[in-house]
């Protein structure tokens, strides 16, 4: 992928369900439409749950990946239209 530069980052490693999603939701509330939030997580379930949540609330998952130590990385672009 081309390099994505995040506007904010959330380190959700070590958090249990559903906290990664709850915290990401709070972060996105503080951001402007079109800005990018980077989320790193260690919870195994986040691999499927996080993209499901992003889709559910209408943001855009622009990239997801996994580092060699198993850390999950997501880049989420905040949706354009207001609530």
């Amino acid at each position: 992928m081309s390099k994505v530069i995040e506007d904010r980052m959330l380190d959700a490693r070590g958090l249990m369900c559903p906290m990664p999603v709850v915290k990401a939701s709070r972060e996105l509330m503080l951001m402007q439409p079109g800005q990018v939030l980077k989320v790193i997580a260690s919870d195994r379930a986040a691999r499927t749950d996080f993209p499901a949540w992003v889709e559910d609330v209408g943001h855009e998952l622009i990239h997801s990946g996994q580092e060699s130590d198993g850390t999950l990385v997501f880049y989420v672009r905040k949706r354009q239209e207001a609530e």
């Binding site: 070590g14 958090l15 249990m16 369900c17 906290m19 999603v21 379930a45 949540w53 889709e55």
Partner: protein
Amino acid sequence: MIFKQYRYEPAGQASYVLACGTAKQGFVVDPIADLGPDFYLLEAADLAITLVAVLETHIHADYISCARELALQAGVPHRLHESAIGRVSYQFSPLKDGQRLRAGKVELEVLWTPGHTPEHVSYLVEDRSRGAEPWFVLTGDSLLVGDVGRPDLLLGDATLDVMDEGERAATLYRSIKERLFILPDYVEVYPNHYGGSSCGGVNLSGKASSTIGIERLLNLPMLQPDAAGFASFVRETSRPVPEGYKTIKSINLGLAEREGAASAVALNVQAVDGAFMRGAVVLDVRPAMRFAAGHIPGAVNLQFNRPDLADRALLALPTDLEIIIHGEPEAVAIEAVDLLIGAGFRVAGYLRGGLASWEGAGKPVSRLRVLSVTDLQEHIADFQVIDARERHEYRRGHIEGAFLLPSSSAWANASEAPKNLALAVHCGEVARSGLVASILTRAGRNVSLVAGGMSAWRDHGYPEVTETAK
């Protein structure tokens, strides 16, 4: 050979499980209380191995060990070098230099490598199913990646310190040079610390493994010309001393109990009964499966996890509730008390002595029935399935007929659960279902807990219903 390295980032600490994949037996090395005995017991269960011993490389000064508790709970020896005898207040199984330990085909040789501390050992590991050659070495806080374990964390007590700082530095230099750097280049190095740990110096690498060969070439402290040069280099490149290290070390020596803030009140069974009369609720912070196996009647289960216990409690429970913590070991209970008070809850204290003291006082213990996903699938008509996850997870795939009762709203909405059948509660794995099952039990429902949750259900290939996103 089963080999797992558990990196606990906040402390830059690494603990290990080594096991023989054939004999299904293994060791835990340097377990940390932040993860806790339950973490290692569950890992061992997941790996389908039996522990034969809990090993420590040394008595730590920068984090609290849970080796004693883990050994006790697993019913296996806790092993430290014999020179710790007389310096610690508890019983352990002493190791001698050169002694060999076995778990099936996995063999460890004890290398006494004092310096960081007097009783420090390294464990040289062979996989005999492949051959009698050393493969890797667990170096504890002797040789680190790019650095060495600092020799200056003294307690100021001659009996406990045994050696002074200068003598420890020279001893550490000799230990690394004469015991570790004589190993073949290819031998891998797995340390107890990496990254930001204050047990190393400024040259400590963020990478948690290395080889003897590359450390011999590039380890800056060990490239100094002699023991004196090594000692001054280590002193000049050390990081600030770990906060509260004397207290931590005293706890690990068994000379002090772990203390919470003054607010963490230990309650006896009678005091807990008194709090019940006032309408207090027991918050049981043990893992869900332990909760299911036996808990105080009416307790709410919210599994302890330091980074988010307070946040999850705020999400799930009203803050005007008066809470009594039940956590084991007590160190966890004390920490939970502090975290919840910090979050604004009214916490009366924690139950001293845990479930054993409760039962010992002749009090009743409740249990939750645990269903496997296979049990549930076979008897699905007998249950109303309750899904304790959030809506987005439910939408992506749920068990047919499941009623969505997210853990974040279960306290307020427990009465909405369908009343026709016994309830079977699941979540993604098991933590949130423990919370929801406990709340529904308080509401008088007949509740079972589904072990393994949705991930186990999917692993079995059982059917699920999906909804397309709105």
